[in-house]
Symmetry: D2
């Protein structure tokens, strides 16, 4: 029933671009699961790999199959696998932790010292089939819209960021409204944030931010962000700053609008070192800063499931485009122009 070969989107060489190829279906080990991919989605990371930028050149070893956001159906399981069955509709945590280091053995597997990311460090999900360690499989609740299945990875980033500190009754600024920023707005709103400020120069994204529940929309290229934030926070600044852009200016501004004693959770990755006024931004302010990496294994996944099932969070507005996998060039183009937010790639429809 499982074919010998499959269609896959491959990063073939150490150069820009990707291409569709026929590849062998991966063989699975005793504790692995083989998943027939139904939908994959495209992340900014995939765009870096596509363009073969500095980061990609240092990290990626072609040829390999990218793709780390997906949903699909279990096609085969290894001999020692329990708790997952052929036919289960699943996604997966693509950070494969080593299981042996200090972090893995003390509840911090999301910052495993020896993590391998499927789709980055090893073959991923832009293919008909993907091999996943059974312990990383997440069974998708049928009460949650099937379309959201490939979005658990970035939605989990948002949940991890928002819930890394208190959120109920808090004023929140989200700096940068790509998909994870947009998801964060919805999560913060569902979890009782009192006033959510979206700070984003792209007007399409600001509109999406409003749809996701932001109360105040600010364009940092035009608005006096600091004055407006003080206006809507009784002069205090925000209780919580969620940094989703990785842009140095946004990071610095984010810390300026954070109130004394506030919390900043940083997820956006700056391309290079950032000059930061640590004295005023963090130290005198008595701020708490959280670096956010991946999703907690698997606390974040349980939180995601609960929020998507019961809190009325709708991810649909963020899904701006759907394309067949083979139209990856167009997808990359839509992303880099800021035209698209999240693009779903149809691999195979069950």
């Amino acid at each position: 029933m499982i074919p010998a070969t499959m269609q896959a989107l491959v990063k073939p060489t150490a150069a820009p671009g990707m291409e569709m190829r026929e590849m062998p279906v991966p063989a699975i080990g005793a504790t692995d699961v083989l998943v027939a991919v139904e939908t994959a989605s495209v992340c900014g990371t995939d765009l870096h790999i596509y363009h073969w930028d500095e980061w990609a050149q240092a990290r990626i070893k072609p040829p390999y199959i990218p793709g780390h956001e997906f949903s699909g159906t279990v096609a085969a399981i290894g001999d020692l696998v329990t708790g997952v069955q052929v036919g289960d509709f699943v996604s997966a945590e693509m950070h494969v932790a080593c299981g042996h280091c200090l972090q893995c053995r003390s509840g911090q597997a999301h910052v495993c010292q020896f993590v391998k990311i499927l789709g980055v460090d090893a073959d991923g999900a832009f293919a008909d089939f993907v091999r996943i360690p059974a312990s990383n499989i997440w069974k998708l609740d049928p009460r949650i819209p099937r379309d959201f299945g490939s979005l658990y990875d970035p939605f989990g980033n948002a949940v991890h960021t928002v819930l890394s500190g208190a959120i109920a009754g808090q004023t929140v600024a989200v700096t940068g409204c790509g998909p994870i920023g947009l998801f964060s707005i919805a999560v913060a709103k569902a979890c009782g944030a009192s006033h959510i400020i979206a700070i984003e120069p792209n007007s399409k994204r600001r509109k999406l931010a409003q749809q996701m529940g932001a109360h105040t929309l600010l364009d940092p290229s035009k608005d006096d962000v600091e004055a407006r934030v003080l206006e809507v926070t009784a002069g205090n600044g925000v209780d919580v700053m969620l940094e989703m852009s990785g842009h140095p200016a946004a990071i610095r501004q984010g810390f300026r609008i954070l109130r004394m004693g506030g919390r900043a959770s940083l997820l956006g990755i700056p391309a290079r070192p950032v000059e930061l006024d640590l004295a005023n931004a963090v130290i005198f302010k008595g701020a708490t800063v959280h670096g956010i990496n991946g999703r907690k294994m698997y606390e974040t996944w349980f939180q995601m499931e609960a929020l998507l099932r019961d809190s009325g969070i709708d991810l649909s507005p963020v899904i701006t485009h759907r394309l067949p996998l083979a139209q990856f060039d167009q997808a990359m183009h839509l992303l880099e122009t800021g035209e698209a937010s999240k693009i779903l790639l149809n691999v195979k429809r069950a």
Copy 2:
């Protein structure tokens, strides 16, 4: 402008009952505020005082004026008062902490060793005027419905209880749906609780629980509570148990339906010692139990304000009756029969 005497509801002697009397308007000290009461509301504690039960006999020293839930307008301020002005629309934290003990000086004033509660240990708000230390005054946000002003005390109990641990994405059981239990349902829902189970024998209260946002309503006198809870929690039991009844059977059942590693926050006051299977209810379960007393000063008040202003919480369904202060006998009757949930007493309408 301030008269020499006022109408007040007085607990005159060490016996059942209360009565309306003409009393002197309280004189204020340099750091006090005098408030012209507009609305007061009736708490279960007032019913104990009215009936002169065992607890009341041990604690209350008549003659005095009860009433600890109120809103009103500042009529006068002491010479050293700053930050409060005549005409401000306010409520107040009626737990007056000593300011000197370990608890007061280390962020735990809500469990001050020498607390005095206005309306219990000293004159309260069932009167035209009430004297409050300026530091206990809370200015009411005009964007919040004026009617909710007297409800901050019990609403704060609910907020303190719900937010004493994680709530976003959690399954929650509320045992006992008096006003504080009902408020807790609304708060849990607004803060991202995934599934809220209300457990309450009184059908009127169960209906209110539904209005406040409970997903599952259980009647402990008829339903198989434990089986139903397992059904709606994937067999785990609830993540969070909020005990609002003080009834021994409800407390024991609440612990039985709590999942391994869950959180129980106890606010309902049992009339006497409770036999509890500590081994299975708490120890093997690795449970965390919080005793909840009053409201955090003033973290809870900021949370209340934010939630009431921005999260769409509506307290109106819980306000079942409005009466003039002089009809206190009827109010007490409505409460003890379970006819009423929260009763507002109109003292003076601005």
Copy 3:
């Protein structure tokens, strides 16, 4: 090299007593480790099993090999085992978590819903060899005295209990000075507790409590415990209460001496339900209560290793007796008379 049979202390039937028998050496699976036991130690649980009390009758399925505190040398490893080698000197977490439930997947494996305890629910370490899942093995640091190797299980209970909340600069009461209570005193002291009060009727144990670092020793059968605690805590009561006895009177007294807003961590297991004045003990007090079960996997183990290696904690005073495994009858006798604290059973010396 590994023999076919071994000597083991067996619980042969559903009746009091144990006996030495020749038993087959356990076969190991692909992810298991076989350990040649060097030292085992005796826990109160073993005494319950020996005497065949009510708890034992409900839980234990003879015939089987008890024993869950041990150290030894790895004799063989399964085909898929990595990170453990033949010859490693090890102990193990004997709570074998299922790995699949909510608790296991969210950092709470110590309260796994489907836990099996080796030495209780399956064969344990009172034998020449014991089979352990590789993931439960803990390699012992050679800088820590070899004798402490079998004590990680109860020492870990103590570390888990003490560090379940703030301890630095806190006043602490330990109610019950069996081995875990004694270990708790040493841990609290090493972690900056300011004043440690040991409450224990047995004078031998009180002397050990003093050796482990307690500042104040109280005999609840003679001393006015409540008055003395107030004396040494500036009238506040203790910040932290560590319940190690499981005795109802000790539990109730422990809560009475706990300060307003204090923390109680409960490890001692009451034999039956306990009548507790929840209103005053927990609710009005604003107390936080932690039920403590086992050791956190494996945060507690890292903490143990660090404390035993670097903080000068000496467990020796608690090791009051050493006997060959075959003298288990004498060991049980020494324990039940309160003569012994912790007894090491020599199984095989490397």
Copy 4:
């Protein structure tokens, strides 16, 4: 009994230097206390004020009396003061919080938006007498060496920094061994830190670090700090980094040696913005960063008292010099050359 004038060390004009002058004894208000200063100590901040550097020019308004570390005896109290008496031996929290802002009313007075620091923004303790609001007075425990009385301010910085996260069983790096760094070493050790690494180029300070309890001493100008840290932390990096220098290179190195998922608490104040590799230092690392300002009011003070009284912490090695107040020029010289660590200035000996 209280004279009309006093000797005081004054910052007379907007220029380098200070001078002794006769000044009026401050008049006290109804809620103030007048303290006869016995000992004051010199902080790095005083050196900035003395030299009239950029920071001082922006913040300080001469003429005024500096000095914010002191101990002394209460000479007079205002009419409304309770809980403090003439003759009490005291120190004080010199950050005077406004009492009205969000932070002050929610347990974060140490980051009050409108704080005034006595000795910086208003007259301080380099004088025979100093006026302090009664609520800021801290009575000194007679069981603690009298000499430590003026050191509560910097010792409290250390306690606040060390205890801003878990410390028991943790490996710790302290970057910068001025007085607060040295105090932090002692606090970390007393609270169960497992291995403490002091990183400091000045050899006198490294020797003091050893006396205070550091296990490993590193000279960043010569040692391969990163390699050595990995050696003593099993290849993980440190669990906790306490930044006490404010030097950009030390801050960057401190983040490099922090383990994945570790905690960094920053107290040292960089003179200008710092270029930091946020991606690797904080975000991918999943680090938690705390900005530390002052002391928690007054949790930190209770912790200080407990640690100084009961944990055997000895601050004496850090007190390298004692001088009369009038020899302030020599004191400043000793500090700026790195000759001195903490200098006590005798104002008046009771």
